[in-house]
């Protein structure tokens, strides 16, 4: 089927390439596309259509129409007419039951037409409503394109490259090349065909997907998405050959002139044996057909009527102006249409020009230019909306199988604007994105509504201009992991690491219960470097914190610590932590592990409004933190520091700068886990020295699970775990943090309106409920469990739960649903362990 060598052909006949189609071994040449190699091997039917499963063959050979979409190496919807042939590539049919040649679903075309008019699913598949999932399943199996590859067989990695250029030229035709060559400076030309040697930078084959604000142009190039920022953009996307509307215009053997030209000139394949040429553009391929030895049976520049006829979906004859002509190739041209979509996306105005029957871009946005055929540099006369002729279906949109009859029906039902018709019929919504059907649809609507094309207009152009793999848009998979400076220590100790937000944290080191016991009876050490850490410094710092928090910090003495809860202006709990005053104008604020960035933004946002002279500095990453806790904490720490740790000198809720193992630390005497403890904050780079010294002093590392048990024994709340976006200070029983006598603080206005629909209480039980378990009262849901653990020290299951205020009383019995059964639990309002805080203060 190959022609003798053609001038300028792209194939290299000295390099044969083996590939498979539907399991059969075939051979092409280097320089072939998958489509040209298949055509040369005798294949004529490349796909089945979206809805009617009609056979479809090569039409445009330029990657614009949907006719050659196949599954290549597991990737669906690949346009094989532009997909370079590679050794060993595996090509398969898609959207068929059987094969592309014999698709059992083709019966839809034979008998389904009358039952499946446009929008039929809106009218005929609505009852009974419960059957819709079944209808949907059937429709999705009958219609559609390729199937997305199984995620387990992912077909490749995607990546993103960022680039900035002074001038970006989109389109590698003569006009684009001339524009690029004329630029004196940094210029990049993007070409969707094979690249060319040039004195400027060329990215090819690559397709610009859209033009966004700020000169951002995403460009697809294989598995790489280029995000190009351009100072100026020159659009040279050329013009698109349009399909004529006539009966049978989708038969295999109907081709556009440029497709024929490429088949002969570039791949040296004979497109048919006997051809009919229709339209101004079609006559231009006479030379190619003559060279290929194709007999030209008839030609007409502007016929009155035309219909194509075939057998099994393949063209056998045409009726041209009433005269029957046998042929297997019909080259048709509905004229050229400037490819304006990218310009329209950029904000250009698109206007109809009746003299040539095309839409042209006008009023270009700043920084965007258009050259060549895309600008409307086309000399042609308008063609008829539809060439009359009886016979087969006449398609306006071959992507979505929308016929002229469908559009007329939509009009009759009142969908009389191009945008409404688009949504109802899906015309212009298929893979070609209107490249082949936009103008045809406008012409048809104008004719049927007895108006002109300028009144109909075009549909809105939106990116992507060309279908693109979702993987390319998603790019490389990123899952940033934050690691504490002690991460390697935890790994060495064999810790089970878990995600908490973006952080990787040690969950346990083998025996969480033993870790809890170590803290209670001896000495434990936990890495709490994930805590947010913020410095607030300046003359305005005390007043700023007084307004940011419901409680007061301006009266906090230097060297002392106070608990603080950050609330929203609606009075809802956002975050919590401690505030240590290190100097008259210097405070050290800690936040939850996942809250630091949000709290810093919150602080800065408010301070931008209030304008206090205070710096807010996020030092979360600069500092590691570890909590040394247990009855032996003081005696273990003392030899490592010269500081006086006596209870009278370093009291509970004191903050002091001390050195531990030679490392400068900020020591906070606080106790989230309920035992005597010191939270040591030190430079991240020196954290290992401090950790190692404390472990050598006898501290047992404990993980998050042990910490969760310990803090629960104290009834300490974890914001986000025990609270949600509706929780407020009254319902969480933290009203003691509200200093109402302050003139202002964030959320003050909301305090009088706070409602207590439920309260956070502790409970003890005999059975461990899952977190989230329902609290049930009189047969209805009356709350939920937020945290629960078995406590050896308490000797029971302990937990926190939101319950209705009426039952939030000490000793009240509540019912919790566990595995479908109701289990009694007793409400406890005080801490389960050391409720007086004696140990903390010891």
């Amino acid at each position: 089927m190959r022609l003798r060598s053609q001038p300028g052909e792209r194939i290299d006949r000295s390099h044969p390439i083996q590939f498979t189609y539907a399991g059969k071994e075939l051979t092409g040449f280097a320089g072939d596309t998958v489509g040209s190699a298949l055509f040369a091997a005798g294949r004529r039917v490349f796909s089945r259509s979206f809805k009617y499963h009609r056979p479809r063959g090569l039409l445009c050979c330029s990657g614009r129409c949907p006719n050659c979409m196949m599954t290549v190496d597991g990737v669906p919807n690949v346009r094989v007419c532009v997909e370079p042939l590679r050794p060993g590539v595996d090509v398969r049919d898609q959207n068929v039951l059987g094969s592309a040649d014999r698709d059992l679903l083709g019966v839809v075309d034979k008998v389904g037409g009358p039952f499946t008019p446009v929008g039929f699913y809106y009218r005929t598949m609505i009852r009974p409503r419960r059957a819709w999932p079944l209808y949907e399943k059937v429709l999705r199996n009958l219609a559609g394109l390729g199937r997305v590859a199984d995620a387990r067989n992912g077909h490749g990695r995607f990546d993103t490259v960022h680039r900035r250029v002074d001038v970006l030229v989109i389109g590698g035709g003569p006009a684009g090349r001339a524009a690029a060559a004329a630029v004196d400076g940094d210029v990049l030309l993007v070409d969707d065909r094979v690249g060319h040697d040039a004195p400027y930078d060329v990215l090819a084959p690559a397709t610009a997907l859209g033009i966004y604000e700020g000169g951002l142009v995403p460009v697809a190039a294989g598995n790489v998405l280029y995000r190009i920022r351009a100072g100026r953009i020159v659009v040279a996307t050329g013009a698109l050959e349009q399909l004529l509307l006539f009966s049978g215009n989708d038969l295999v053997g109907v081709m556009l002139p440029d497709g024929v030209r490429r088949m002969v000139d570039e791949w040296a394949v004979k497109p048919g044996d006997r051809a009919v040429l229709v339209g101004e553009g079609a006559v231009g391929v006479k030379l190619q057909l003559a060279r290929a030895g194709v007999e030209i049976a008839a030609a007409s520049l502007r016929p009155e009527s035309l219909s194509a006829h075939g057998r099994r979906g393949r063209l056998t004859s045409v009726l041209l102006d009433g005269e029957g002509v046998d042929c297997d190739l019909l080259v048709v041209s509905g004229g050229l249409q400037p490819a304006y979509s990218l310009l329209a996306q950029a904000g250009a105005r698109i206007e109809y020009e009746p003299r040539r029957g095309i839409f042209v871009p006008t009023e270009l946005p700043d920084g965007v230019a258009v050259v060549g055929a895309a600008a409307g540099g086309i000399d042609q006369t308008p063609v008829a909306a539809v060439l009359d002729g009886r016979g087969d279906k006449c398609f306006v949109c071959i992507c979505e199988d929308v016929t002229t009859k469908d559009v007329k029906r939509a009009l009759a039902e009142g969908f009389d604007s191009i945008e409404l018709a688009k949504r109802y019929t899906t015309v212009t919504m298929g893979p070609c994105q209107g490249k082949l059907c936009q103008l045809a649809a406008t012409r048809l609507l104008a004719r049927e509504t007895d108006t002109d094309e300028s009144a109909i207009g075009t549909t809105t152009a939106r990116p992507p201009w060309t279908p693109v793999e979702l993987g390319l848009l998603a790019g490389r998979h990123h899952e940033p992991a934050k690691r504490t400076p002690l991460h390697s220590r935890h790994e060495t100790l064999g810790a089970e690491m878990i995600w908490t937000g973006q952080w990787r944290r040690a969950f346990q080191y083998g025996d969480p219960a033993a870790e809890v016991r170590a803290v209670h009876d001896s000495l434990g050490l936990i890495d709490v470097s994930t805590l947010g850490k913020v410095l607030v410094e300046g003359p305005g710092a005390p007043a700023l914190l007084d307004r940011l928090y419901p409680n007061r910090f301006s009266d906090l003495k230097p060297g002392r610590i106070r608990y603080g809860v950050v609330t929203s202006d609606g009075g809802r709990i956002m975050d919590d932590g401690t505030v240590a005053r290190l100097g008259d104008e210097l405070f050290y604020v800690t936040t939850t592990s996942t809250g630091s960035e949000g709290v810093v933004e919150w602080f800065e946002w408010w301070n931008a409004i209030w304008g206090y002279d205070a710096e807010i500095v996020n030092v979360t990453g600069a500092l590691a933190a570890m909590n040394l806790a247990g009855p032996r904490a003081r005696e273990a720490l003392a030899p490592l520091t010269g500081a006086d740790l006596a209870n009278e000198s370093f009291r509970y809720l004191d903050a002091k700068e001390i050195a531990v193992a030679g490392v400068p630390c900020l020591a906070l005497r606080i106790g989230f886990v309920g035992e005597l403890g010191y939270e040591l904050h030190c430079p991240a780079t020196d954290a290992g020295v401090v950790w190692d010294a404390l472990v050598a002093a006898g501290a047992t590392p404990f993980g998050l699970e042990a910490q969760r048990v310990l803090r629960l024994e104290k009834g300490h709340v974890i914001v986000g775990q025990d609270t949600d976006s509706e929780s407020n200070l009254l319902s969480a029983r933290m009203q003691w943090t509200i200093k109402d006598d302050k003139p202002d603080f964030v959320g003050k206005g909301a305090v009088p309106h706070l409602q207590v629909r439920e309260r956070l209480v502790g409970f003890t039980a005999d059975v461990l409920p899952p977190e989230g378990a329902q609290v049930v009262r009189e047969g209805r849901i009356a709350g939920r469990v937020t945290s629960a653990r078995v406590s050896e020290r308490v000797g029971r299951v302990i937990g926190l739960a939101w319950v209705e205020p009426e039952i939030a009383e000490e000793g009240a019995t509540i019912a919790i649903r566990v595995d479908g059964a109701m289990r009694d639990a007793a409400v406890t309002l005080a801490a389960f362990y050391d409720p007086e805080g004696t140990l903390l203060r010891s």
Binding site: R157, D159, T160, V161, H162, R163, R164, R227, R229, G475, H478, P480, A481, K482, R483, T484, P485, H487, W503, S529, L535, E537, G538, L582, L586, E615, V617, V619, T620, G621, A622, L623, E657, A659, G662, V663, P664, C665, L666, H681, C682, P683, A684, T685, D686, V689
Partner: protein, 121 residues
Amino acid sequence: MTRLGFLSPVSPPLKILEVRGGIPDGAIPIGPDRSLVVGDSAADLDGYRVYDMSAALVAIEVESEKLLRRITELTEFPAAGSILRGIPAVIERHAGGFRLFVPQELSQYASETIDDLRSGL
């Protein structure tokens, strides 16, 4: 113990100071009135609020501009922005290539990812 001595590492691999209240000569601007002073700078920091961020940031050197284009869309240096889709970073030209300052807690992820990209993964 000096003011905020607990912020300063015992022996930092690279001295990095965050300066608030302006941009001294030779500093890398990271905001309208914020900047970084890297190394043994002779910058006069009197009158500014200065915070030692030597332990907070890790420097990663990237030689190839081609590789940098796969990491960030920032193109004008020095610049403060993000790399690898969301990791905050400060980037400056350095020794014929580029130097990226990233938060130490994300530095292992960033360096491993950049290394993967360099290896063509």
